[in-house]
């Protein structure tokens, strides 16, 4: 028995092969959005590989964390490349997760039967942001330390459970080594486990239902998933790898100064760019609105927005161009403009 037959007997891989050979991807207007998910997946793979390499040298203690990152970037062979690629890929991944989410939203890919695909994707978006939040602290540098302090303080303002959440996140009342340990555990164990399960489920659903075909004019056309779509995706991944390498070499991610919890917070502390729109919003809300503390109101609004995002398929499910669809599109455009605008304001206004 040759190897193929031996494997077929045990793995039934020809069924998967047949499935992929018959799988087709629709050709539609704005079809490029189909590649956003693939780019995100590529960046996630890069994160897993570089993250595992960093794990071999990183030491999650307040005393050693910063030195271990410096050791990686200055002494470990190609450590600088691994670390820089990990940091850049993390930021690009957040960007492409958002792009993928908005792309799927605007082509209406959340409608029946893909509601659960949307919900799993939205949860992956939240997980990706948590990845970014927890990973940012790990180098234990000044900016990360104080940004985490501010970030967790914002969590502490969540109504009713805020203080409990703050203590849970920080592992105490303040940002200390306990916080670093906690964030490390969340970053390298809990989130990867959740992501792997949720991503597997998300990809399974994508295969189960196929690519969404939005309302479009003209006859329905498609290309084969293998090899046409896969080759196009591969081309994008190759370009992505080139961009990542260029960024990592020409703009190596800085290590920063070691965090000193006793030092005053430096001026202009702000969170990572993907949280700036929220941070800026909270800054602009008056201290009290209708008798409610402004910050709490802002956090409630963002929590509500997250719930609405999860519930999009339940709120707008008609395939025809209804009023609800138009409102959803308008809200989506507003959300993109608001996030981009607030992020820009956050960087321009001191």
């Amino acid at each position: 028995m040759h190897l193929g037959g031996w494997l077929e007997d045990r793995l039934r891989w020809r069924a998967a092969d047949a499935f992929l050979r018959h799988k087709a991807v629709p050709i539609v207007r704005h079809g490029y959005v189909y590649y956003f998910g693939g780019i995100t997946l590529f960046l996630f793979v890069v994160q897993v590989v570089t993250g595992l390499l960093l794990l071999m040298y990183y030491k999650p203690t307040a005393e050693a964390a910063h030195d271990s990152i410096r050791f990686i970037t200055s002494k470990v062979q190609f450590g600088w490349l691994v670390r820089s690629v990990h940091s850049w890929a993390a930021n690009l991944m957040v960007f492409w997760v958002f792009a993928h989410m908005f792309g799927a939203f605007f082509v209406g890919a959340y409608r029946r039967p893909r509601e659960v695909t949307w919900i799993s994707g939205t949860l992956l978006l939240f997980i990706t942001m948590t990845f970014g939040f927890t990973g940012y602290l790990l180098p234990w540098n000044t900016l990360a330390y104080f940004a985490t302090k501010v970030g967790t303080e914002i969590v502490g303002a969540v109504p009713l459970v805020g203080h409990g959440l703050l203590v849970l996140l920080r592992g105490g009342e303040d940002v200390t080594e306990a916080t670093l340990n906690r964030f490390f555990g969340i970053h390298v164990a809990i989130l990867p486990l959740l992501t792997t399960m949720l991503l597997g489920f998300h990809l399974f659903l994508v295969q189960l239902h196929g690519m969404s075909r939005p309302e479009s004019r003209g006859p329905a056309r498609s290309v084969a998933f293998v090899p046409n779509f896969v080759l196009r995706e591969a081309l994008i991944w190759v370009i992505g790898l080139g961009v990542l390498a260029t960024l990592a070499v020409l703009l190596p991610w800085p290590v920063g100064e070691r965090a000193d919890p006793l030092a005053p917070a430096p001026a202009g502390i702000r969170p990572e760019w993907y949280f700036v729109f929220m941070f800026q919003t909270l800054k602009l809300i008056p201290p009290h609105v209708l008798g409610i503390e402004g910050e709490r109101l802002g956090i409630l609004a963002f929590m509500l927005a997250a719930l609405v995002l999860l519930a999009v398929p339940l709120l707008e499910h008609d395939d025809r161009k209804t009023r609800a669809r138009r409102i959803a599109l308008a809200l989506g455009i507003f959300a993109v403009l608001y996030m981009a605008g607030m992020t820009i304001v956050g960087y321009l206004v001191p």
Partner: protein, 435 residues
């Protein structure tokens, strides 16, 4: 009737002041009785109550007296002026009740000393306050001249003010550190007033332009020395030529230690030169620079050491050692900055660079020893540290170049791969109708 009563009161007060002025200046101040212990609450004080309503010069002391440190501690006008503040009328100023009126300048040291020279009195208010001010005053140039009958010199109230006398720690006090230069300048910058003494009146202007003046007056740094830190306060006198270094050593101890073991010490003493101020000036002490060292002007060494002399050669060699170290540090800093700007972690390079800076400070300080060997030793060590920092910087720049070459190679491979994929995609059949 009220106007007549007021006029009578004014007349009596003026008379009392005139009487006080008319008293002869004692050859040596006679001790006066210590005032009674202050009463915690003063329900009635006829001095303040009457003088407040007199207007003009006579009202001024009463209007501002509440801020006086002595009044705040429970003393009344009578503590200095005598009399009975409990008496409601002019009898409060009855000489029989101890009223002395306005003390004459010559009487002030003794008057103030009634309390301030007595530890048993002063410890009730501040156990740590010195009680030798009056004794020191009479050792000062001011005090000596006063003893000789010169009443134009400064006495207690000339510097501390009067009505109110504020605590020294009060920023409005004329003797608060930042106010001292202007207080001294009231007399010492007045050319007309100082004419009889034949001393310069440029000290204040020079101090303002000095590094100390800038620190104190512009930056408000109370650590910076003011007039009394070098001249003394109550015992104010110019430091003698042999004690200048000790005065400066209150802050610049290391420099003094180096100076006293240098060949300059004996040479200056022999020539009657005032140590530190020969090179650094006295009131106009500017930020020292390496240009002060060398064989030609503006180097201060050239004031005494003629070109071609052994001293000039030594000065030139010291300057060269300093300049070599600075050049080496600047070169290293440039390399390190270029590597850092390119995103390299230069912490390892910054440590030796920082140590080199320390060596430069040390070498500059060692100039006070006038020992070429010691200066060169410190500078050479600094040059070595700079070169170590530069080596880190050069290695980082080489690493950047290596990374960029690697990137070009990697991108070339990726471009070929992408091109291959692109051509393959182009060659594949186009879309088909969906089922």
């Amino acid at each position: 009737m009220r106007i007549f009563a007021r006029l009578a009161l004014v007349g009596l007060a003026v008379g009392a002041v005139w009487f006080a002025h008319a008293r002869p200046i004692p050859a040596a101040p006679a001790p006066a009785a210590t005032p009674a212990a202050p009463s915690p609450a003063r329900p009635f004080d006829s001095c303040v109550d009457c003088h407040r309503n007199l207007g003009g010069r006579l009202a001024a002391p009463a209007l501002r007296i509440a801020d006086d440190i002595h009044v705040k501690r429970g003393f009344s006008c009578a503590a200095c002026h005598g009399g009975d503040p409990r008496a409601a009328g002019l009898e409060a100023m009855d000489p029989k009740k101890g009223f002395v009126g306005k003390p004459k300048p010559a009487q002030l040291p003794t008057l103030c000393g009634n309390c301030h020279s007595k530890p048993e009195v002063m410890r009730r208010f501040n156990p740590n306050i010195p009680t030798d001010e009056v004794a020191r005053f009479f050792t000062s140039v001011h005090g000596q001249k006063l003893l000789k009958g010169d009443t134009r010199v400064a006495t207690c109230t000339s510097c501390h003010g009067v009505h109110p006398i504020l605590a020294v720690s009060d920023s409005k006090s004329p003797v608060f550190p930042t106010n001292v230069p202007a207080t001294c300048a009231r007399c010492h910058a007045d050319a007309q007033y100082m004419k009889p003494y034949g001393i310069a009146t440029t000290q204040y202007a020079e101090y303002q332009a000095s590094v100390h003046g800038e620190a104190l007056l512009k930056r408000g740094s109370k650590q910076a020395p003011t007039c009394n830190d070098c001249h003394g306060n109550h015992g104010a006198a110019p430091p003698g030529v042999t004690s200048v270094a000790n005065v400066c050593a209150q802050c610049h101890g290391s420099q003094r230690d180096l100076f006293v073991r240098s060949p300059h010490k004996a040479a200056y003493e022999a020539a009657g030169l005032p140590q530190c101020t020969v090179c650094h000036s006295n009131h106009k002490i500017v930020q020292p620079s390496d240009a002060m060292v060398g064989a030609a002007a503006p180097a201060v060494c050239a004031q005494c050491h003629a070109e071609g002399s052994k001293g000039a050669a030594s000065a030139r060699a010291i300057r060269t050692a300093l300049e070599d170290l600075k050049t080496s540090m600047a070169s290293a800093a440039d390399v390190v900055a270029r590597a850092e700007n390119a995103g390299m972690d230069m912490t390892d390079a910054k440590l030796p660079l920082s140590d080199a800076q320390t060596q430069l400070i040390l070498a500059r300080n060692l100039v006070h020893s006038l020992s070429l060997r010691e200066v060169q030793s410190a500078a050479t060590e600094g040059v070595g540290l700079s070169q170590r920092a530069a080596d880190f910087g050069r290695a980082a720049l080489a690493e950047i170049a290596f990374r960029r070459r690697g990137l070009i190679f990697a991108l070339a491979v990726l471009v070929i791969l992408a091109l291959g994929l692109y051509l393959k995609i182009r060659a594949m059949p186009g879309p088909s109708a969906s089922s």
